[in-house]
Point group: C2
Chain length 213, copies 2
């Protein structure tokens, strides 16, 4: 049992390492020094060394990092070496867009079903994924090993559905609804609040305009 | 001219204040103490006071905050008091989902056109928004006052289109492409890397599984 506390900041940076290492592999690069990697990623070499030391290092003095090995190790740390089954709640534009995004599947995030309240949508398929009636959600979760629930529904509904999810053993929620979900401490929520992201952009535009005056 | 440096952490929290204050208004709450607000938002009252002091305070000892006034002031700080015209590059699932999302428009983020390379899509409309051919992008930007470009295209195309955007005066990019864009220092980029967000969730699932053993 390992129980080292890794900071949020490090965890946030890991997928970016994963992406850059994947690119290097695609370019046929077999090993890379922290200096070279730092230039590509626009972070300091010491940050890279520190970040990777959280997981035991991986680098060798004078040799640098073995790209394929480091890529695989980071994938393992990120839990990408196994399937993470998902359900998507809400078959609106966002739900369908996420269901159609094959890249998730390539990384082991496999959507098993989409749930909606609209009878016109129920019974359809998005790619090969069935659209089921929301009332079947609890039973579906009991009968299938689902790791992640994705919420792409309005906030009031999201709060209600979250209760069903938690009651039926879901421990990870990817939340696109514009609300902070109240969940037990063993349930993790990753929020994607798009309009808040857009507001940050708007703030920076307003700031830039002010500074120009 | 004001040039105070506000930290990124504060800017990230502002939209959340805006959301909670909007909810309070909808509930008919006219004023609120930092203590009450802190309970609702699950942050400390002193953080709220500190955050809002960056912009001059707004609170009155013994009275608290005037909800409607604070909501409006934060909206102004976030640049939500004026229209931010947008173009969306890419009329795929995500592009259409964003174009269909009326909430953005309600906050002043108005999409003027969608651009795509696919001749089958060009000439269509998403809601009332025209889909134009990507080759018309430069001219469109020259003839219209566009504040934000939204990239919902694959990474290689995103890099190329970013050059066109920057050359034609775009200063703000909302980037959904899975790549770090290289832009001049006066151009702001807000990234929404969905698969990285999903990987963070996956990491936490893997950690929880490990700690259970």
């Amino acid at each position: 049992m390992e129980n080292k506390e890794i900071s949020n900041a490090v965890i946030k940076r890991l997928p970016r390492y994963h992406r850059y290492l994947g690119d290097l592999m695609a370019q046929g690069v077999e090993r890379i020094s922290s200096q070279e990697l730092s230039i590509r990623m626009n972070v300091t070499a010491s940050q890279i060394r520190q970040d990777l030391n959280n997981f035991g290092g991986f680098g060798q003095q004078g040799y640098g990092y073995n790209v394929a090995y480091l890529y695989q190790e980071i994938a393992k740390i990120l839990g990408l070496d196994r399937e993470n089954s998902m359900v998507i709640i809400g078959c609106g534009n966002f739900g369908r867009a996420l269901a159609n995004y094959q890249n998730f599947e390539n990384r082991g995030f496999v959507t098993k079903a989409i749930f909606d309240v609209n009878p016109d949508k129920v019974g359809n398929r998005v790619r090969n994924i069935p659209v089921l009636y929301i009332d079947e959600l609890a039973k579906f979760l009991q009968n299938n090993d689902i790791k992640i629930a994705v919420l792409t529904i309005p906030r009031e509904e999201a709060v209600k559905v979250t209760e069903v999810l938690v009651d039926n053993g879901i421990k990870a929620i990817w939340n696109f609804a514009h609300v902070d979900l109240d969940v037990p401490s063993d349930v993790v929520v990753e929020n994607v609040h798009l309009s808040e992201s857009l507001m940050q952009l708007s703030y920076r535009i307003a700031e830039a305009a002010k500074n120009k005056k």
